[in-house]
């Protein structure tokens, strides 16, 4: 079975979801639940850290599409950070850089939220 796990930490107003392992159609519901929980708690400023993510398929990318509107309606955003080249390439092929801000590091993404306050 694919190894995938997430961990969530809060830095002030921003919540950071760290992804680890393989994000596919089997493991995507774990990330979906994370977004549902954060949205339930009205934590709309979300950074997703891809540093430890080894693999993503379209089922994983679909999760970001599913929640982005709700998050932006709540005056927040989903900012993406720390992708390796292979993962970034998949996001790029599907045109995600037009819809999402993608940063080199988690810190840069958090900083952007602070600038926009």
């Amino acid at each position: 079975m694919a190894e995938f796990s997430t961990s969530i930490k809060d830095k002030g107003e921003v919540s950071i979801i760290n992804l680890k392992g393989y994000l596919d159609a089997h493991t995507a519901p774990i990330l979906e639940n994370n977004f549902v929980d954060l949205i339930d708690k009205s934590r709309f400023k979300i950074v997703v850290d891809f540093r430890d993510l080894a693999y993503i398929s379209s089922a994983g990318l679909g999760v970001f599409m599913a929640f982005i509107e709700k998050v932006r309606d709540g005056k927040g955003d989903i900012k993406l950070a720390g992708m390796n080249d292979k993962v970034y390439n998949i996001f790029d092929l599907l045109g995600f850089p037009l819809l999402y801000e993608i940063f080199n590091s988690e810190d840069e993404a958090i900083k952007k939220f602070a600038e926009n306050r």
């Binding site: 596919d24 159609a25 599409m65």
Partner: protein
């Protein structure tokens, strides 16, 4: 090289086994990592679609993955006995439109077509569906840097 075959049930938890199977063969053949990764992702997308659409998440269906490498091409045949899939009815994804409509489907087929050199669907309704994914693997000496 001989054809290698893997038969698994139509469960998403088997996707990692399918990826490992493809990976073991591409590394045995010393196929470059980037090409190998593209093949693995395309096969994952095809099998995910079969689990979702052909078998509608029923875990009892069967998926047969055959790897048929030649000197110039890496061909993957993926067969199922589920509902016939009509890829022509799936439009190319428009992410801006998806954003507005909160749609998330159709990305997989687009990825498969982008990552592979050829994607071909064959269906014998009531018998089987087959998707053939093909990737050119010949290293053109004249183009080598």
């Amino acid at each position: 090289m001989k054809t290698k075959t893997l038969k698994v049930k139509s469960k998403t938890e088997n996707l990692s086994q399918i990826r490992d199977f493809v990976s073991s063969v591409t590394s045995e053949l010393k196929i470059p990592k980037d090409i190998s990764e593209n093949i693995i992702l395309a096969v994952d997308e095809a099998c995910t679609n079969i689990i979702k659409h052909a078998y509608n998440y029923s875990p009892d269906g069967e998926i047969l993955v055959k790897l048929k490498p030649t000197k110039t091409k890496f061909v993957v045949s993926i067969m199922d006995n589920g509902i016939t899939f009509q890829p022509d009815k799936i439009p190319e994804p428009d992410l801006q439109k998806y954003y507005r409509q909160r749609r998330v489907g159709g990305l997989g087929i687009y990825l498969m077509k982008t990552l592979m050199d050829e994607v071909k669907y064959t269906s014998k309704p009531g018998q089987y569906n087959e998707v053939l994914l093909s990737k050119n693997i010949r290293v053109a000496q004249s183009n080598a840097r």
